[in-house]
């Protein structure tokens, strides 16, 4: 038990992302309301973003923007990879956040169409109306 606690503390970013992911997944599966399902999808997405960004962190490193260089002739200074955090997760998540908002918009637009057609957003009521036909 005494050796387990440092392991748990050393990986706390993973526990947070797993918890968020479980909340999102449960909302997507179990919730009856379509908007709540969409919100669950959004929480799930946030968990993935948190996971990626936390992977990029390095101890003792700063943000991946080089300081004091201005375009021309900057190649003379040596840049050490250990001084800067991993830029790749930032790049991937930067686009994923904006695309996530856009897909959330599409999901909400579909929900509006469903509401116009069936006058409800509850999944069981929609299914009952479809079965009746």
């Amino acid at each position: 038990m005494a050796e387990l606690i440092p392991t748990i503390i050393a990986k706390y970013n993973y526990w947070i992302y797993i918890t968020l992911m479980m909340i999102g997944l449960y909302a997507m599966i179990a919730k009856n309301n379509l908007v709540k399902k969409i919100l669950g999808m959004s929480i799930f997405q946030t968990a993935i973003i948190l996971f990626y960004v936390s992977i990029g962190v390095k101890k003792g490193a700063t943000i991946p923007i080089l300081e004091g260089v201005h375009g021309h002739g900057a190649a003379h200074q040596a840049v050490h990879a250990a001084d800067y955090v991993n830029p790749l997760p930032h790049v991937l998540m930067l686009t994923a956040i904006v695309v996530g908002v856009a897909t959330l918009g599409v999901a909400l637009a579909l929900a509006i169409r469903v509401y116009n057609r069936y006058n409800t957003l509850e999944e069981d009521e929609i299914l009952a109306q479809i079965r009746k036909k």
Partner: protein, 275 residues
């Protein structure tokens, strides 16, 4: 269903917790993610692209294709919202309400009648609530500075945190703030639906066109070094300029998509007063 969902969720969580045992610890410099490709980007980005912000260099140059198709995905999402929701050729209601802005008197007009075209009347819906004066005034002061900041974030993305995606979202948010604080009609008067619908593909076309220009100049698609002969700079600086061009394209596409999605969803495609 709730029980099954709970079981599936707990099982997934259990697998993830089990797998997390093999993952590197928090902020480990020798983790697999930080050892293979990323040192190359960090050490070579300034030599190869002359952009100090490594995130921007990787986003628009090393992973240019990825970003181009992300911009295409965003454009498609805006288009889908428009196609799903927009109600075209809808009949105008028989009675329309106009409000005299200065006095606050509401005029109701029957079918076929017209009011003289005047700046002093604004069209309102059946369910109209007056916008709060404090919020209106605060947003009126805030919006120009937001837009200026958005332009700064796009243009300064090479040297500080920023770029097309972030700046585009800020610019889009400034118009959405106008729509929330006043109403949707005011916002669409400033930024007409047609303008939004044209600018959105134009932003993607700027990105793809920069790539095609490189192709015409004899290099690979999105190989900005080829722009050196057009811009009269050395190939390394030309990469930095090429990145700025595609960031502007991304900024336009993202800004208009945010506005497009908001306009369609908030009014359910009717383009009336909105929320």
């Amino acid at each position: 269903m709730k029980i099954i969902g709970l079981i599936i969720t707990i099982m997934t969580g259990g697998f993830l917790v089990y797998a997390a045992g093999d993952f590197p610890a928090w902020s480990d410099p020798s983790s697999p993610a930080s050892t293979y490709l990323s040192p190359y980007y960090i050490e070579k980005a300034i030599e190869e692209t002359s952009v100090p912000n490594i995130v921007t260099a990787v986003l628009a140059d090393y992973r240019g294709f990825d970003t181009m198709f992300e911009a295409t995905v965003i454009f498609s999402a805006g288009l889908v919202c428009f196609i799903l929701l927009r109600i075209m050729g809808r009949k105008e209601p028989e009675t329309r309400h106009y409000r005299h802005v200065l006095t606050g008197v509401t005029v109701t007009i029957k079918e076929g009648r017209k009011i003289p075209a005047s700046e002093e009347f604004e069209r309102i819906d059946d369910l109209w609530t007056p916008p709060e004066l404090i919020i209106k005034t605060a947003c009126r002061v805030l919006i120009p500075f937001l837009q200026l900041f958005g332009l700064y974030v796009i243009a300064h993305g090479h040297y500080s945190p920023g770029g097309g995606f972030q700046g585009g979202v800020i610019l889009g948010a400034s118009i959405i703030l106008l729509a929330i604080s006043h109403d949707l009609r005011t916002a669409t008067e400033r930024m007409r639906e047609k303008v939004v619908a044209i600018l959105c593909p134009v932003g993607v076309a700027i990105y793809a066109g920069t790539g095609a220009l490189c192709l015409l100049l004899g290099a690979n698609f999105l190989d900005y070094g080829a722009l050196a002969s057009v811009l009269h700079v050395d190939p390394i600086t030309a990469r930095s300029h090429g990145i700025l061009m595609v960031e502007i394209g991304v900024g336009i596409a993202v800004m208009t998509t945010m506005i497009w999605i908001y306009n369609n969803i908030s009014s359910a495609g009717k383009y009336n007063q909105g929320l």
